[in-house]
Chain length 506, copies 4
């Protein structure tokens, strides 16, 4: 297992060479400890990067054949055994820890691995492999949530409820139409996540440390081994790209802001005052002290996560705002961005669980829409179209009508023609001949919802159109995601197989 | 100019109707004053929105023909005269101020304008029309910067300088290759800006206030009048979309972070210590007290702007993180986002001015690359390939060589074979037969740069390929932008012309 | 009015000296335009700084007596006339614009002003004078809000309502106790604002440009003229202090987050579903389309402002994160921080207006507390103390009781001993002898609130203690603020008077 | 070990009571997994909170004596054994996991612990105990850094170097004066950290869940047991306080921004171009590929950490911006804030290590100050004071002089009287009689530094004064910190001892 020259170099990379001393305690307890904590994210992907790099160098004749076999066997051993590797900050970061482990296994032959490649490239690839998988998982979870929203929307085309602005009743609507409010942004989320994914799925391998290498590095071979759809061409750009983490985190935040909105409202709807939904017991948490509580803990979690993540957009921009060539644009992203994505994906699944079991209190919803004055716009429309009042005058008349109705305790559904008429007199000095049948269509929630026939409106046919087109778009999105996933997965499987063949293990 | 019923409604919308009183002083001095400050952004676009809305309602028979003519004439008058309109917070926001002005001009006929449409829709359209124009301008400026970078890169394929990481010499490179570091991210910027532009350029017109309208609103007619490429279909989604401002600001921030990086370095290069560039006098600022100063003020401005803007990603996410239906997700975006875009576009032009006149001190650059040890990797590569040392051992030998060279004051370009040889003995115990001709190719900067033949590397042919392909991509991007611009501009011109015809003014 | 040597220097500072050319268009349209927009914040304070600097240099014999009189007269003229000065970016920033105006008035004698002082010092002082006044105004408004909260709390010791966590009923409480939730953080706000104020109110005058001056600058004289309570001693620290804007903005944000919380809840309480308060008409805004709407616009504004400002904490830290000596840590703070403070102060006054007129629907509050199960903890306490169940068992019994009560439509106030007893049997297998009189004290809201006798609890005596101590603390805070205000105001008045005397105008 | 009634309640709190089912998988994999990850921060402090709560309830007669002994023994066992406890999200959060473990140990007697106290109170106390200890450690590390800065400053009163603005030479200064730039902000840091510490060190114990308790809870006893210096009086305020995490993180960020500044500059000084310091080997990191590199990794780490943390100010404000009563303002702070503090403290120690070993290249510093034009202000001062030119004219003359000197390759220290004279003629048309001895004092760096006699300036006496007063202030600060630390530590030790006595174990 040894090569012809087995020099007992110190374990700490560079010590005895450029560096006279090992790392200071303060360095190990801060920067190196931080770096080591990235192991769960980086270990697997660096392993793939190392294998691909070694195989390419062997095929290009840089690493001699015999050393190549030894090196690949060591790397394959490490690939299998590293999962439980303890990180020791004395060596430095995750890359250095793998290197120390490999050197322990195969001696100085391990040293061939570093030819033509900086640590940054290996670590970057490890990170990108993790992030692209995380993004696949996130997009899958997002599409599943979107489907759950579409399903519920299709069930509730005739479940009437008050639409709101400022949390105050706006118009009668259907729960189905309301729910789609939260489906449409998902298409924009997917646009952004796909754009971002394509930036992540660009191969930096073979860049040399900044401007290429004098060795015969084959970048296309590396790209294919690692399953990237394209290459990050410029070698110096490939190394840093501080814009991509900003892009990904802000796409994630934008997505969570949308989910947060519905989440906020479901919490509200679950209060005694609203009483519009009852959240499933298995998604609630008991209070330790208050026996009556069934706390909507998922809503709190989603809101907290969204709030926390939104600061990271500033964080990732701030670490990128520095000279090029400084690795601080990456060392506080390697673990933090994947964690943001995976926590968000889990939160999406949590929310999907709630949506899938959504149990609206349809009677209460109808009661509320009748109790309020959500039909006022329709009353004003009727005045305008039937009696030729300009809209602001009609609005004034109905505004006054509602004010009077509230004072006398009449609900919106109980407003009578005579009240409107007397308000018209008060506002305009004229007495229009408003009859009960004139305002009747403006008092029934179902009739009002049906009247919303504009494209994108609450009318059941419009709703059905939107659900159908959304379902088709989601199907396409799912296909795209699965193809991207398959490309990555099969490339890495092939990489391992080829490595075993070159290592004469297969 | 009066309609049949001219009721003297109060100027403050809703007063005497739903509201018993005018606005409180505290409300006017805070929220309404804030809203009024958005006039420079919103006035023009709201005017287009109002014209389109009125014309559609006339064509659909909602507004009677006579009133329609009066209304359109008023709106056209206002379109021309509003530029210097004083905003009065007593009326409320910009929309209310326009409404008060219109009412003053044409009396209660002005009231027809509000049929079937909330203020939010008009304001939103005003904002979107401004933002899409701002984005066009931004993309134009960005493409111009990219072209200036490509031009300079093509001039400096053989201007040698030290590439760096951590600001410490890394490898000899060419200024041309270095400059492209800042061109490549621009392609990702353009991907993001285009994706964002397409989300901004979606028409919300005709949404009713939340779920459509009982009036025969024609959304396609509105979309065409206003020149949007597509419709924001779901009426409730169309109104809020808190994700889009997050998307735009983070694309802008990612772009500025890139520009900031080169900007930081140019400031450094302009110091006495580096002395690699001399910034043009017209881009510098004098100190009031220190006569010798030629301060690189543009760099400070770009860095300050980038730093400031990056917090807005968090701001825009935080204002969007609320229940749907709350307008706070927009009221702190209407003016703030356009300002962020236009300031960034001006900063890009500032930076382009500097790049276009970039005057590198090529002698100093060469002196520096020779004085340092940027050729060390090539020395190690030579040891590895020529003498079969594994790379880590070769690295150790050269690391020690450099340490000795520094101690004895020998620059990288002056390292001799004998020094390498003695280090090899020290590290490995063996004495490789290293001759001057072995290491010669690893000491000349030009030879080293030429050796970087990997795709994306610093070799002049690789550089020329990158410049050629970048130039082609920039040409495509410019065409896309100009077509989008033309679509908007001609639609709005047509809108005005049609309005004049319907108003019987033409 | 001319001095002995009136050289016609170019208007653009440095042109013809160190700079060969005037400013480039791109520089004027970006950085200088930005700088000029700071005039409303900076003009007045720079004027004071200039006067103090000139007077000190005259008294120290640096500026000759005759020139001194000319200079002071020019500065006093400018002080009075500058309010409507147009800023011209061709000159540079606000400082340069003042200098150009002064030179126009008194020729090259204006040039004496720049002795021993960089622009940064003058601008800094201008900024600090503005910010300390803004902070005084903010603290005043905050104390007034606190007093309004205390007043309302004292009125509602016996207004019963459901306290909440997760927006779900928690315990019966009094509105008075609930309101104090938002008073107590104000004491921490005041701690922070005072600490920050004392850092702002430190005089940097006389620092030279970085490390002092060879001129006989008297820093104490300057400090007294300008009314600062202390000196920023180290001359280089005095110039930058990037930490102080971070400190101030985060104190403002922390304060607004608190106000935002109550604001969110008042919006909720004003919904039809809650119906616990009716917001005054003059604090609401009408919808343009929906006649029934009385939108709680102040809540939206407060929430939007809070959300927007919170990103500025990241912005101000990001602009400070750079080498020392770079002015970007200040150029994006000069106008942005004062605007943040003054908008927040106006928002506090807006909120105070609402609090002062708060009109709770006390019947509805009582109805809600009776309809829910907020008394469940008291029931469990009674079981524990009276029947020696451990608390978790008691909690389980009452939890089950509530579940049954909901299923059968019994409100919390209607739970009977028998129901508790049957649940106890179900949970424990034992049958405790629970009688109606045992649970009676746990069903009456007033009795429950009275039982909260722990320090800081809802019992009326505890409430009265808190109000009394809070009132005393607010009185102290107000005294502190007024003294600080008086110190600044009288110093600046004195400065003007002394200047007129030295200029022989008085 | 069992109490009289040992009911086999389900492990999942509330199941079988208010909740019909155990937690859903999606809830466990998201929110509960997140909560469980807080164990390293919370476990120890919750243990103290539980002990204090149990002891108080026993002394107040709420928990019967026998059960009390059992409970305390269980809690003491748990205190010792919990360090390696595995968290199981099936139970919920850290509190629930402790409860499950306790129940396993002592059966249903464990249920007495929950009397009169919500989970939030226990968790809050656990968090506060951790944070106050973290803050003590941070303040200690900060004071140590400050002392190291003061030490270095005192060594370098006569080490001359160019002071800078915009990274361009400003004035000759001493390294000692320059270093103090970074000491003075630490006094403001300490002000903020102390204010924040006093807000953290307020005891919420005994609040009941929101408004007190009907049980005879003794809040003073709890406060003393837990070693808090004061009580958070209002029970509802005590529970949430979303402002305090904002306060702490922004104080930490402000501190790190300061450290970052010097750190940026030291990296620059370590470049080949500056060559002003050589960083100790044990604080550098080797490149894997480039043998010559001695990368200043600590600077990268500090810059990255600062950039990352600054986004958390926005995060913590965003999670606090919600209704009161929602725990999202805390669940994303419990672990995140302590981590921010402890990482910052480690980074301070890292930086202190570098400062303590700072090895400036004093010859190079002097060479640089002589090579540049940092003496230009002094030349202009000399012209003004000696020849009665107004300062702007003097500035113009010297500006032109420098421009000519650069063109002809004359360094600042080599500028001769004749060159100044010819520039004066060019600018003013007059020929002042400037002799070599006139400008001599303005060319020697030592003389220039000595001339900076203004308070806070670079003159050695001024420097010595600042160091003396700083040292005294640091001594006071250290005393304050040690007293606060001692108060906490001894209280908790006493708590354990009392618990053992009450448990009849001692």
């Amino acid at each position: 297992m040894k090569n012809h020259l087995d020099v007992p170099l110190p374990d700490y990379y560079g010590q005895g060479g450029r560096l006279g001393k090992p790392a200071a305690r303060e360095l190990k307890e801060s920067a190196y400890a931080h770096d080591c904590s990235q192991a769960p994210v980086l270990l697997e992907g660096i392993s793939y990067a190392d294998l691909a790099h070694a195989m390419m160098l062997i095929r290009q004749g840089v690493i001699p054949p015999e050393e190549g076999v030894t090196l690949l066997r060591g790397l394959l051993d490490l690939h299998d055994s590293q999962r439980n590797m303890e990180m020791d900050p004395s060596f430095g970061d995750v890359y250095n820890n793998r290197e120390a482990a490999l050197k322990k296994m195969i001696g100085s032959t391990a040293g061939w691995l570093h030819a033509g490649r900086p640590r940054r490239e290996a670590v970057n690839i490890g990170y990108l492999i993790h992030v692209r998988r995380d993004l696949i998982d996130l997009m899958r979870s997002l599409i599943t949530l979107a489907s759950a929203l579409a399903d519920q929307a299709s069930r509730h085309a005739a479940t009437f409820m008050p639409d709101q602005t400022y949390l105050h009743h706006a118009h009668p609507t259907s729960l189905g139409h309301y729910i789609l409010t939260y489906l449409y942004p998902i298409f924009r989320d997917l646009d952004r996540l796909k754009t971002g994914y394509l930036h992540v799925d660009m191969c930096p391998a073979g860049s040399g440390s900044v401007n290429g290498s004098r060795l015969p590095v084959d970048r296309n071979m590396l790209r294919e081994y690692l399953g990237f759809h394209d290459m990050a061409v410029h070698t110096r750009d490939a190394m840093w790209q501080p814009d991509v983490p900003i892009e990904i985190i802000s796409a994630v935040v934008a997505m969570m802001v949308n989910v947060n909105r519905f989440s906020e409202e479901l919490q509200l709807w679950s209060t005694l005052e609203y009483n519009m939904v009852d959240l499933p017991d298995e998604f609630c948490r008991a209070s330790v002290i208050m026996p009556q509580k069934k706390n909507p803990y998922p809503m709190t979690y989603i809101r907290g996560l969204t709030g926390f993540l939104l600061g990271l957009t500033a964080s990732f921009a701030a670490v990128g705002k520095t000279h090029s060539g400084n690795p601080d644009s990456r060392t506080f992203v390697y673990a933090e961005l994947p964690e943001a994505i995976t926590k968000s994906a889990a939160a999406l699944r949590l929310f999907t669980g709630i949506i899938a079991q959504l149990n609206p209190n349809t009677e209460r919803m109808l009661e509320l829409v009748r109790a309020g004055y959500a039909n006022a716009t329709d009353l004003a429309d009727v005045l305008m179209t039937g009696f030729k009042f300009d809209y602001r005058t009609a609005h004034q008349i109905i505004g006054l009508t509602v004010r009077k109705a509230i004072e006398t305790g009449i609900p919106g559904s109980g407003i009578e023609a005579s009240l409107v008429r007397s308000s018209a007199v008060e506002v305009t000095g004229q007495d229009p001949d408003i009859r009960p049948e004139d305002i009747q269509p403006a008092t029934d929630p179902a009739a009002i919802v049906n009247s919303r026939k504009t494209i994108g409106g609450a009318n059941p046919d419009r709703l059905a159109e939107m659900i159908a087109s959304s379902t088709a778009r989601l199907r396409e999105a799912r296909d795209w995601v699965e193809q991207a996933s398959e490309r990555n997965t099969s490339a890495l499987a092939n990489l391992l197989e080829q490595a075993r063949i070159m290592a004469r293990l297969q």
